[in-house]
């Protein structure tokens, strides 16, 4: 154990797809119960990092330590189940995140059967009630198939499904960016509540600086697979160091803001 206070430690992480380097030499840590944001535009490699953390992609180089243990590729089923209790993920697209044939309850039940085998029917039911309360579901919605649920409700189910495993940290991969503004606010509030209640850690991946500000303590700014800047979220956004972070920050509309033409960032622009 290097540092007992961090739940995720990533160092020198690299991922190549053929000749293309999607993630290059990325290092960061997530403290227990902390909240880390990864910011970047499309092609920055932020989603690839998320997929490597949960074992959906195999890193080309570098190490991922979760809970003090190295994550080697090709784990046994038992090992993958243990890892599941460390790190869970909520994806972006509310429409493919649930099995269309599964009701909310049966989706949660399936997870509880796997991860809480000691619970009987009654125990699982009471746990499901807790989870449903936490994400704000009534009993009618819990018997519904995903196609009867709105985008925001589906994301709530995905969050409940991740929480059912009782992980130490949840990766939120653009989990609120496909939602309407009024729904996005509900989910952001929900996530903040959950964190204050359970001391779970978040790794929030987003292109939206305002969302990063609202939900994270520290953040990592990425471009073209590389880390440009790491620091306390408020400091990074209020006083950005790298040119790229400055550019991102200057592109967010707000009072008195006006868009500017940025010919210089395009190779073709004069």
């Amino acid at each position: 154990m290097t540092s007992s206070a961090s739940i995720v430690e990533v160092s020198g992480l690299q991922k190549r797809f053929g000749n293309h380097v999607a993630v290059d030499d990325v290092t960061f840590t997530v403290p227990e119960g902390g909240s880390v944001g990864i910011v970047g535009e499309s092609g920055s490699g932020k989603t690839t990092i998320a997929r490597m953390l949960v074992g959906l992609e195999v890193p080309t180089a570098g190490t991922i330590r979760v809970g003090g243990r190295d994550r080697m590729p090709h784990a046994s089923v038992a090992e993958r189940r243990r890892r599941a209790r460390e790190l869970q993920i909520v994806f972006q697209d509310p429409y493919s995140t649930l099995d269309p044939r599964q009701t909310v309850d049966s989706c949660l039940d399936e997870v509880l059967r796997l991860h809480r085998p000691e619970l009987n029917r009654k125990g699982r039911l009471s746990r499901m009630n807790d989870l449903a309360d936490m994400v704000g579901f009534d009993s009618r919605q819990r018997r519904a198939l995903p196609r009867r649920l709105s985008g925001g409700q589906r994301q709530r189910v995905a969050i409940a499904r991740a929480l059912a495993v009782e992980p130490s940290a949840i990766i939120l991969d653009e989990s609120v960016s496909a939602l309407d503004l009024s729904i996005q606010a509900q989910i952001l509030n929900l996530l903040a509540e959950i964190r204050s209640e359970t001391s779970i850690a978040y790794i929030l991946i987003s292109h939206d600086l305002a969302v990063i500000r609202q939900l994270t303590d520290t953040c990592v700014v990425m471009q073209h697979g590389r880390v440009l800047e790491v620091g306390e979220t408020g400091a990074v956004l209020d006083n950005p160091q790298s040119e790229y972070t400055k550019l991102l920050r200057s592109c967010v509309p707000g009072p008195g803001w006006h868009p500017t033409r940025l010919r210089n960032i395009f190779p073709g622009g004069s």
């Binding site: 189940r81 599941a84 993920i89 972006q92 493919s96 995140t97 044939r101 796997l114």
Partner: protein, 289 residues
Amino acid sequence: MTALNTPIAPARVLRTIRPIPGLDVVGHVAVLLVILFACLAAFGPLIAPHDPNAVNLSLSYGGSDTEHPIGYDQQGRDIFSRLLHGARSSFLGPLIIVAAASTAGMTLAIVGAWRKGWIDATLAGILDSSLAFPGLLLAVMVVAIVGPGIQSTVIALSIAYTPYMARIVRSAAITEISKDYVAAARVQGFSALTICVRHVIPNIMPIVLGQAVLTVAWATVDIAGLSYLGLGIQPPAADWGIMLANGQTGVLQGYPMEAVSAGLCLIIAICSFSLLGERISRRGEAIAA
């Protein structure tokens, strides 16, 4: 005749049957016809009024009468009874072919789609190239080696239809496996087998089923064609393909009833299977999207 009335249930039973939601009128007709043909394949030989192989040369090309609604073929056999017997031999082969090809194709496709990498690439390559080789040709080559007969053609066509099945299932499985809920289940620690059996297969089942019903149609064409060419089922068995081959002589002499009746049976059967299969597939795709 009772034989004609049997598949049509009494009105009391009819009233208890509800329309299938989301299926149009044509689809319902197709379902009824498919059920009718299934009944014919199962009970046709039992309800046939005459021996399909009872030869009576004096009745050669005899016209219809009350006992023999379609008349007689060249050898004076009752065409109607031969049609009823033919239903079984015309559908049994295709059914076995579809069962075999669906099972093999689905297994190959899902393993490929799940494992990705070189296994899938090799599989995709083989599937793509095998598409260029019609099942008919493979069946003909197998017959060249082991001789004519229904077993050899069924085996050959089962192999030939496997890549078609696998290709459709593979693309459906790839779409399904790429969905986030499958990734979520992997992150949850479910085994590949559990995810495939509980989530992936049930979700692509409508597409598989639709393709299977369509394949019944095409396999029926191929089996009948092979029998027509003299490579499949052998005379004097009552089979629609054989009846067409025999009937061709009758056509030239101005007695088309045998060929026309067997041909119409084939067309209606193939139509109903393809209409039904198409509708199931379309529904499956709509659900998957």
